[in-house]
Symmetry: C2
Subunit: 381 residues, 2 copies
């Protein structure tokens, strides 16, 4: 990838709210645009809407071709006709998060005070809760008073939890997958590696790379590589690559390559074509700031007091980034307030990424949970 | 740290072998210098020598002030009078590894063919076994035919294992601590992040930064930060920093800092003052190439067939970089050849770094093991 190549642009379906959005940091965005996609049809009662929240580097193209990469949607195995989140039955909404780079307001949007420039690193710090508030505006705009379900994995799971905490009466069912109620010190540290790598790239220009029409591609690639390692288990890495040298040529200091290295390099470089560095900074920071119990004196149960939402928590046994213990802590807090909660630890050796992969146990459980909730909600087929 | 500041230089005690060293990669170093330090006195029988092998970013200053940092030796709590490796009883040797930057032949040494330049990234790929062969030259030079013990943690443990495999008759006791017989795919991946960060630094100049009198400080710092996270447990990170914001000021995209981040930044920046980037590339690569069983058809036991060496293996329960399972695999291979082997898993929540810290269980076990070996070896007090 040529470092001088500019970020690819496409047009996204979106809605703009001229009254902006008040942020947790105390500042206010004068304009708020939320880019989104929908699948399936909203029923007459407007009671079959499922909001899917995407993860750090995901986007709204959950079940269709991603326009920049040409690859299938990131949850194409989960959302669609006849799939666990069945678009013949449910109206599926997915929005690009606030701070993102796929059409929603973020560091690449025009600066509120200097519209001839983009925000860049001047973009205010946003939180997971801010992202959820932006989504709530979209949901209202679509005429939906109550979501049948909010579902998300990883950072999407954080959003699902925040939805249930902020809008308890507007969420019938909530499915946080491979998630946590706060970001751990280790997780923050890994994100910081990525941010430092971006800031260290000479093409970063203190965040004003857009003005130079370049991308801090190498820094962003290192950030992505770091994150990628945390998404997979040691077993998955070993199975895929083991320790085979990709080429058996004479070893030199930088010339030889283990397979895992070239794979990571490929992952890193394809990423920079579709993701904005300042968005990466904004969104990782939002994750790092997430601590749902903080507003309740450190007592997570307080976030869910009196909730009527039905919860399904899912973790994966080999996920060391959002380990099962984190989901268990959420389950305990929900039990504490007598919430309706199911908890499934899927036995998988695929690590955190398992939530995106074909995990039959996970898919069957989710489909079953949704069917049960649909019955309780009186959702007509 | 000023990026333009050159690498600090000091004079080190060393020995040079004019006949060089044949390397695993097939090339030959025309000159071999081994920088080293010794502590205590060699007895008349020359039977009380303990070789200590240092880890990735360690050096020969195991039990005295490090001349570049002014900090105590990296194992000052382990090596000295009255300490587990008691310098009143043992003659302790520690050499800077081949490929290092503290006086031994490495990327900062004069190029064999163009002595007016340094090797830089042209330095041949070295292996853990090459490091051990260089140490063996030093041990012979000191007039020692058989080491009483070889002891090392992390990469030092890899060297200890390689010593026992390459020179079984010259090692009475062998203590690999927090070690492994091969580097895992995950470990390789973390190293690759560091190498990519270094290569991405504009001050790297393709490895010829020395010619520009600069240091790829930010890339090296990111590499060190990445490695540092893998050295500590989540529990240790949380205990030390938790999620407290270091400053409670208004959040901005790059302005706020979690404590763990500023800690990591500090760790990274103090590191670049003492460590050479090309050495970091060379040594991480040597670790990544390590697979002791590879020369024996994948059968680790083959590396130790007929060994008379006494082994003590030590792992730490919260070490996720070199987990207990890796030490257990070595123990199994040693059992397979009926070797004399003790194995201790120290219960600690301090992660991989525990081998450097005050872990009473570990220290007592090592002292006891050495005392027992001394008796068996007929070592006179």
């Amino acid at each position: 990838m040529d470092q001088g190549q500019a970020f690819a642009e496409v047009l996204h379906q979106s809605v703009t709210f001229d009254d902006g959005l008040a942020l947790d940091c105390g500042r206010r965005l004068k304009n708020l645009t939320v880019a989104y996609r929908t699948y399936g049809a909203l029923n007459a009662q407007k009671s079959n809407a499922i909001l899917i929240c995407h993860a750090l580097t995901g986007d709204q193209y959950v079940a269709e071709t991603q326009p920049l990469t040409g690859k299938p949607g990131w949850w194409a195995n989960m959302v669609g006709e006849g799939l666990p989140i069945d678009t013949r039955k449910y109206y599926v909404i997915c929005a690009n998060v606030l701070g993102g780079c796929m059409g929603s307001t973020g560091p690449r949007s025009p600066h509120d005070d200097r519209p001839e420039e983009v925000w860049g690193t001047d973009f205010p710090a946003v939180t997971i809760q801010d992202m959820v508030r932006a989504q709530a505006r979209l949901v209202s705009h679509l005429g939906i008073e109550k979501l049948f379900a909010v579902i998300g994995g990883s950072m999407g799971g954080m959003q699902a939890l925040a939805w249930a905490a902020l809008y308890p009466d507007q969420v019938f069912a909530c499915v946080p997958v491979a998630a946590a109620a706060y970001h751990s010190a280790q997780n923050i540290a890994f994100h910081e590696i990525g941010r430092q790598a971006i800031a260290a790239d000479p093409f970063f220009y203190g965040g004003r790379y857009w003005a130079e029409n370049v991308i801090p591609a190498r820094g962003l690639a290192v950030a992505r590589m770091t994150a990628h390692i945390t998404y997979v288990s040691e077993a998955a890495l070993t199975r895929k690559f083991g320790r085979r040298l990709q080429t058996a040529t004479d070893l030199t200091l930088l010339g030889d390559r283990f397979e895992v290295e070239s794979y990571l390099e490929h992952q890193g470089s394809s990423f920079v074509r579709r993701f904005d560095a300042n968005s990466y900074l904004a969104i990782t920071r939002a994750m790092d700031l997430f601590d749902l119990a903080a507003d309740f004196g450190g007592n997570l149960a307080g976030a869910f007091a009196g909730t009527k939402t039905r919860f399904l928590l899912v973790s994966f046994s080999s996920d060391w980034l959002f380990p099962t213990a984190q989901s268990r802590a959420i389950a305990r807090a929900l039990n504490h307030v007598a919430a309706n909660v199911s908890f499934l630890e899927v036995i998988s050796d695929k690590g955190h990424d398992a939530f995106l992969l074909d995990e039959p146990d996970f898919h069957k459980t989710l489909a079953g949970f949704l069917a049960g909730c649909a019955e309780h909600a009186g959702l007509r087929e």
